[in-house]
C-alpha cells in the first residue's frame, strides 16, 4: 500500500473482506506488543517500584487494578462508539466490533473488582465496601452482561446487532448518571471510616509501571478483539465467495497439519 492512497484505503477496510485479512495480520503484532509490555510492566512493578511507605507491598496490586478499571470503562465507550457508528452508517462491521469488545470489557470489569476486593481486605479490613467507584464498577459489569446476554439471545443477526447497539448507547448515556447517583448516595451513607479518594503519593516509577501496564492491557484488548471478530466475520459473510476461498485455504492448512 503506497502512502498516497492511504486516505481512501482506510475506508476500504470498512468492508469485511478487506478487514478480515488486515485483522489477521495486525493481531499478532498487538499480541506481541502486549506480551513485551506486560513483561516490562511486571518488572517495573515488582523490581523497580519501591515499597509504599504506608501500605507496604500490598499496593503492588495497583499495577493490575487501575489499568483493568481504566480498560473496563474505555472498552465500554469504544463499544458504544461502534454501536453508534453502526446505527448511523449502517456498517455491519461496526456491530461485530462492539460485540467482540464486550467479553473483554466484562473480563476487565471482573479483574478490577476481584483485585479491588483482594486489595481492600488488607488495607480497609474488608473485601467489599459500598464505595461509589466499586459500586459503579459492579453496575458496569451488569451493563456488559446485559449487552452480551441480549445479543446472544436474539437469533436474527440483524436484530441482534441493532438491539445490542441500542442497549449499549442507552447504557453509555446512563453510566455518568449511575456514577453521579452512586457517589451522591455514598457520601450520604458512608461514614468517614474509609477514605478511598486519598491516593497514596505515588513515586514516579510507580506511575510509569502503571502506565506501561495500561498500554499492555490496551494492546492485549486490540489483539484479542481482532482475533475474536475474525470468525464472527466468517460466520456472517459465509454466503460470499471470498469466505469460501478463505475456508478452502483453512482446509488445506488443516489438511497439511493432520
Amino acid at each position: 500500500m503506497s502512502r498516497s492512497d492511504r486516505g481512501p484505503s482506510i475506508l476500504r477496510f470498512a468492508a469485511p473482506q478487506n478487514f478480515y485479512p488486515l485483522a489477521g495480520r495486525l493481531a499478532p503484532w498487538f499480541a506481541g506488543a502486549a506480551a513485551v509490555l506486560t513483561l516490562a510492566g511486571l518488572w517495573l512493578s515488582f523490581f523497580v517500584a519501591p515499597t509504599d511507605a504506608t501500605q507496604g507491598e500490598v499496593y503492588r496490586v495497583i499495577f493490575i487494578h487501575v489499568p483493568a478499571a481504566w480498560m473496563s470503562m474505555f472498552v465500554y465507550l469504544v463499544m458504544a462508539f461502534w454501536s453508534a457508528v453502526g446505527l448511523v452508517m449502517n456498517t455491519r462491521l461496526s456491530f461485530l466490533m462492539s460485540q467482540a469488545l464486550a467479553p473483554t470489557g466484562a473480563m476487565f470489569c471482573v479483574v478490577a473488582l476481584w483485585t479491588g476486593a483482594l486489595w481492600g481486605k488488607p488495607t480497609w479490613g474488608t473485601y467489599w465496601v459500598w464505595d461509589a467507584r466499586l459500586t459503579s464498577q459492579a453496575l458496569l459489569l451488569f451493563l456488559y452482561l446485559g449487552f452480551i446476554a441480549l445479543t446472544r439471545a436474539i437469533e436474527d443477526p440483524r436484530r441482534a446487532d441493532r438491539a445490542g447497539a441500542i442497549i449499549a448507547l442507552v447504557g453509555a448515556v446512563n453510566v455518568p448518571v449511575i456514577y453521579f447517583s452512586v457517589k451522591w448516595w455514598n457520601t450520604l451513607h458512608q461514614g468517614a471510616s474509609v477514605s478511598l479518594t486519598k491516593a497514596p503519593s505515588m513515586a514516579t516509577t510507580m506511575l510509569v509501571g502503571m502506565l506501561v501496564m495500561a498500554v499492555a492491557a490496551w494492546a492485549y484488548t486490540l489483539a484479542v478483539v481482532l482475533w475474536r471478530v475474525r470468525p464472527m466475520i466468517l460466520e456472517r459473510e459465509r454466503h460470499t465467495e471470498w469466505v469460501g476461498a478463505e475456508l478452502m485455504r483453512e482446509a488445506l492448512r488443516q489438511g497439511g497439519r493432520a
Partner: protein
C-alpha cells in the same frame, strides 16, 4: 533490587495471598479468554467447512457464492 531473597519476593511483606491472588486470577482469565477465542475460531471454521460441503452436495456448487452476485474481489 527490592528483594533480599526469592522467599521474601513470594511473601510480599506478608501480603502474598492478596498480591498473588490478584495477579493469578488475572492471568488465568487472560489465558482462558485467549483459549476460548482460538477454540471459537477453530469451531467456526470447521462448522462452516461442513456447512459448505453440505451446500455443495445439494447441487448448488462448492464456492459458487449463489447469494453474492458481484462480490468476486480477490483477497489482497
Amino acid at each position: 533490587m527490592q528483594w533480599e531473597s526469592w522467599s521474601a519476593f513470594w511473601n510480599m511483606g506478608g501480603a502474598g495471598f492478596f498480591v498473588w491472588g490478584s495477579y493469578g486470577l488475572t492471568f488465568v482469565l487472560v489465558a482462558l479468554e485467549l483459549a476460548l477465542v482460538f477454540q471459537r475460531r477453530k469451531d467456526t471454521v470447521n462448522r462452516l467447512l461442513r456447512w459448505r460441503k453440505a451446500v455443495g452436495r445439494n447441487g448448488s456448487g462448492l464456492g459458487a457464492g449463489k447469494e453474492s452476485p458481484g462480490e468476486s474481489r480477490a483477497i489482497p
